[in-house]
């Protein structure tokens, strides 16, 4: 799928979940046997138009996420190309064992789209946040885990997922007016991280909502004469270990930035990849803490945990000074 400036702008304005719903309209034109399943969240996932336009390709299984994955599995076994979507915590946790057995163990091809992941719904409390989903999905053998950097990449991921063979989890972060990372069309390939900035002092690995902030942080750092590479790790699993290793050796610091718990997400994936390196660099993990903290407005929460460009830059300079 090709992006253009107007699409990029529109997607960013409406945010990642509305983008998903919109992209499904295009996907239906290309994928004949498409089925999009929800658990009573069609509006939240931007699927209201899709539901009207393609009633035969849309199915609501009720507020029953275990049933959601089971029905998706049956449809997939019958030859349909199935997407499921609901809020990230419900998409990944209520039905975790169904995901393990049906998508992991049986390798059934279903693409799960977890909407409003991270702390986008921080004002609703932690029932509606997901700081554990990358960790959970990554632990399932055979699962591909994608965390798009901006809304254009959401669109790219959805199309790539439809053509991919195995089960996939796509994690949607951010709210409306999502920062844009890619202003023009570009090549997206599942499993291939993308270097956005080149610098040899440090490497910042970022994913999802944090990619644009990491790019901005690198500009702040550059003024302090710290040259940073910034890498968009849109595919957390499978991770391109060679690429990660190559960009981790002999640096003053490597940094991971993610809107996820410090346990089990990007920080863990990068340190696992680098654990065998001889010329390993020190790793700094900028993540959400391993706790259910006080909720609140999305940007307030990001600021509180240094998940903005200044916060990222300052945390890095402090760490370099140690």
């Amino acid at each position: 799928m090709k992006l253009d400036k107007s699409k990029i702008k529109l997607f960013s304005t409406i945010g990642s979940r509305a983008t998903f719903g919109m992209v499904c309209l295009d996907l239906a034109k290309e994928i004949d046997n498409l089925m999009v399943l929800t658990s009573d969240v069609s509006t939240s996932a931007g699927l209201d138009r899709f539901k009207l336009k393609y009633p035969d390709k849309y199915l609501d299984v009720g507020i029953a996420e275990q049933n959601l994955i089971g029905v998706a599995t049956g449809l997939s076994s019958g030859g349909h190309n199935v997407f499921t979507t609901t809020f990230a915590p419900f998409q990944t946790m209520r039905c975790f064992e169904q995901i393990k057995v049906n998508l992991g163990y049986m390798k059934k091809k279903v693409t799960m789209v977890g909407i409003a992941s991270g702390v986008a719904l921080g004002t609703l409390g932690f029932t509606h946040c997901a700081i554990e989903d990358l960790s959970l999905m990554r632990s399932i053998p055979g699962m591909t885990v994608i965390s798009p950097a901006d809304c254009g990449e959401v669109a790219k991921s959805v199309f790539a997922a439809a053509k991919h063979k195995g089960p996939i989890y796509i994690r949607l972060t951010g709210v409306a007016n999502n920062p844009i990372v890619y202003n023009d069309d570009y090549k997206f390939e599942i499993g291939k991280p993308i270097k956005l900035e080149e610098g040899n002092d440090i490497t910042i690995f970022a994913t999802g909502s944090m990619v644009s902030r990491a790019v901005d942080a690198s500009k702040i750092l550059s003024k302090q004469n710290i040259k940073a590479s910034v890498i968009n790790v849109h595919t957390i699993k499978p991770l391109d270990i060679n690429f990660v290793n190559k960009n981790s050796e002999n640096r003053k610091l490597i940094v991971t930035v993610e809107e996820h718990s410090v346990i089990g997400g990007l920080a863990s994936a990068i340190s696992e990849a680098n654990s065998q390196l001889i010329n390993k660099s020190k790793q700094l993990s900028i993540s959400l803490p391993d706790k259910y903290f006080q909720g609140g407005e999305y940007l307030d929460l990001l600021n509180k945990y240094n998940l903005n460009s200044e916060g990222i830059a300052t945390t890095i300079t402090k760490n370099l000074a140690i």
Partner: protein
């Protein structure tokens, strides 16, 4: 073919399955086998695979065919028994049951070559998969059908009731579930562990075409599977006896999962011979 002939065919398959189940349980040796729950659904399985579920090694790779889901996956002895008779593998392969590197473990593992569509064993998951398949077949305008065998204890799982609610909602008259109501689960009676109440009325109130029958009466099973329903999915509460067919195992929940000793194996063979 007359109905009597069909019934006789079912009975002769059932006898073969009984022998295969007992042999396989014995091959398991010290690692034990789920015997009781395999035997309680042996008449159901024999009836389904003789007359209703049309799968064989030739058509299995096609998507447009009937589907069978053993949601109570621990009853795999009877599943493997029938797949061997259908020619998916040999009776000799049953000897590898629960051995290292075997494709026949203590719960079914998806295997396109050997006729197994789904890996089951974690209770409560098969119904929803059956619903997805039934929807898929309808979308493809296929006349084929989906059959799911569910345990009565398995009905403790909430996910079963998510499925119960949704199958009638989607008007799945191509879906049939059979609840193997042997009144026992792993550690005791259903009514002591979690009462099921009037299962048929419960399911019927969810909008199914629900029936309660003797799950060992082959004529009744044949008749009920033959009946068409109008836009509703069909649920059959099959009243069964756990361990059915072996005097020492009937209604004896020790045989839920146990070792079949040499003495009992020999006794079982004699009982099967005399039938």
């Amino acid at each position: 073919m007359s109905t009597d002939t069909k019934i006789n065919n079912i009975k002769s398959l059932k006898k073969k399955l009984l022998k295969n189940v007992v042999d396989t349980a014995y091959y398991a040796g010290a690692s034990s086998a789920h015997i009781g729950g395999a035997l309680s659904c042996i008449d159901i399985v024999s009836t389904l695979f003789t007359e209703f579920i049309k799968i064989n090694p030739e058509n299995f790779s096609k998507k447009d065919r009937d589907y069978f889901i053993l949601s109570k996956g621990h009853a795999c002895l009877v599943y493997y028994a029938v797949l061997a008779e259908l020619g998916f593998f040999s009776r000799d392969d049953l000897k590898s049951f629960e051995k290292t590197d075997s494709f026949l473990l203590g719960h079914p593992i998806l295997n396109e070559k050997y006729g197994i569509d789904f890996s089951t064993g974690s209770l409560g998951m098969g119904l929803s998969i059956g619903i997805g398949l039934a929807i898929s077949l309808k979308k493809k305008k296929s006349e084929n059908k989906v059959y799911v065998i569910i345990g009565d204890g398995e009905c403790n799982e909430g996910s079963i009731w998510e499925g119960m609610m949704s199958a009638p909602h989607f008007n799945l008259d191509n879906l049939t579930i059979i609840i193997d109501k042997n009144n026992l689960q792993q550690t005791g009676k259903n009514e002591d562990i979690m009462s099921l109440g009037d299962l048929k009325s419960k399911i019927s109130s969810f909008g199914w075409d629900a029936h309660s029958i003797d799950g060992h009466n082959i004529k009744d099973l044949y008749d009920i599977f033959s009946q068409k329903t109008d836009s509703k999915p069909k649920a059959i509460v099959a009243n069964t006896i756990k361990g059915k067919g072996l005097s020492f195992a009937e209604n004896n929940n020790k045989f839920h999962h146990t070792v079949l000793t040499k003495a009992l194996y020999e006794k079982a063979l004699k009982e099967i011979e005399s039938k």
